[in-house]
């Protein structure tokens, strides 16, 4: 099996999980309701666990650095996350919409990966899939509630969030350098197939939420090749602060 292709795929998924976990965790203590505070914090904790499990596969099967080193010691250009996960939180509508579009893709991605010919990834995907179902359930409930069953104000906020987030969400499906190899070897059926199933899913939910997908949106690309937004450097600085101060610290 093409190990460079597997490594690149694992990194993409793990880095997305790590960075969105950090963004979601920024709601801890600040959520608009206690339950939502707990929800975003729990989702962040799950995502961090998923990232750690993926970094562990990279460490154990491909001798890459330890999960902690992968999370805290790499420079920006080595990260393979998409721009969607890097954007700073704004209002709650923004975070909910990002959470929805991201988790729909993650849920479907892991569904595809349960059939991966790379068995360690397939096993993890079978496990993680059941957890992300809860994330997607949470996101979908709120998108439909605030978009379709809420007030004009909540609907407008969700629409504004969708307009803003959509081009970045399309960037989740940016091809990595090994797209063909991944498909040929049955490791992952590819971003294009994922995007089609994702579009079908989100269109249905957004329709129920009376929200309109922006027409002719551009895809925001670059993350899968190490180019990131201006928000990435400050995020990394904050996220890695404790580790850089004392790499042996346990917390």
């Amino acid at each position: 099996m093409n190990s460079d292709a597997i490594k690149d795929l694992l990194l993409r998924v793990a880095d997305d999980e790590l960075i969105i976990a950090h963004r979601h965790s920024e709601w801890t203590g600040l959520g608009p309701l206690l339950e939502e505070d707990i929800a975003f914090s729990s989702i962040a904790q799950d995502k961090l666990g998923h990232a750690q499990a993926l970094y562990s596969i990279l460490h154990e099967k491909f001798s890459l650095a330890t999960p902690d080193e992968m999370a805290f010691m790499r420079s920006e250009v080595d990260l393979r996350c998409c721009h969607l996960v890097e954007l700073p939180n704004q209002d709650y509508a923004f975070s909910l919409m990002r959470h929805f579009l991201y988790d729909a893709a993650e849920y479907l991605r892991y569904s595809m990966l349960t059939k991966s010919t790379f068995e360690p990834l397939a096993q993890l995907a079978r496990k993680v899939h059941g957890e992300i179902k809860y994330h997607l359930y949470h996101a979908t409930t709120w998108v439909v509630q605030l978009g379709g069953n809420g007030t004009t104000e909540s609907h407008d906020k969700m629409q504004r969030a969708l307009d803003e987030v959509w081009p970045f969400a399309l960037g989740m499906f940016e091809h990595g350098p090994y797209e063909e190899q991944l498909k040929t070897e049955g490791i992952f059926n590819g971003e294009d197939e994922l995007k089609i199933t994702w579009l079908n899913y989100v269109k249905d939910i957004l329709n129920r939420a009376a929200l309109i997908i922006p027409a002719d949106a551009k895809h925001v690309l670059g993350g899968r090749h190490g180019y990131h937004t201006e928000y990435m450097a400050p995020l990394l600085l904050e996220m890695t602060e404790v580790y850089r101060t004392d790499p042996a610290a346990e917390w």
Binding site: E35, E36, I38, S42, K47, H50, R126, K127, Y137
Partner: protein, 161 residues
Amino acid sequence: MTVPQIIEHLHSVKDPEIPTISVVDMGIVSKVEMQSLDRVVVTITPTFVGCPALEVMKRNIEHAVMGIGIKYVDVIVSYDIPWSSNRITEQGRAALLKHGLAPPVRYDDTVELQLDVLNETPCPFCGSMKTILKSPFGPALCRSLHYCNNCLQAFESFKPV
């Protein structure tokens, strides 16, 4: 020492967050192998991948097996057999209830679990089915928040996964 004896002994290792249930009844222990008279390998499958109690459980299992005279104990984490809430034993379900947690709704794992079943969680205090899901996320990754419209109590449930 035999494998069944070791498993029996592992009932003394409790979930650090739910002290009424053992790691065996929780379905976390997926395999115990005796490689030689003084070497045992215990394979565990985590409930939730990001569960912070995992390291503590690994350590406690190791100490428990060493405590019955096994010199070398390896505890390995594997997703070979993925954990599902259906792995919790009947005894384990009773232990959850004793802790005030509604046991996870049992589901048919040959079809995709629909999370709407969370609205059909019986109240752990009065047994009523007149309950609603308040949030699919609770004070630990494995718990959801509910409310009973019969006895007017908030309660937590172990999530079906």
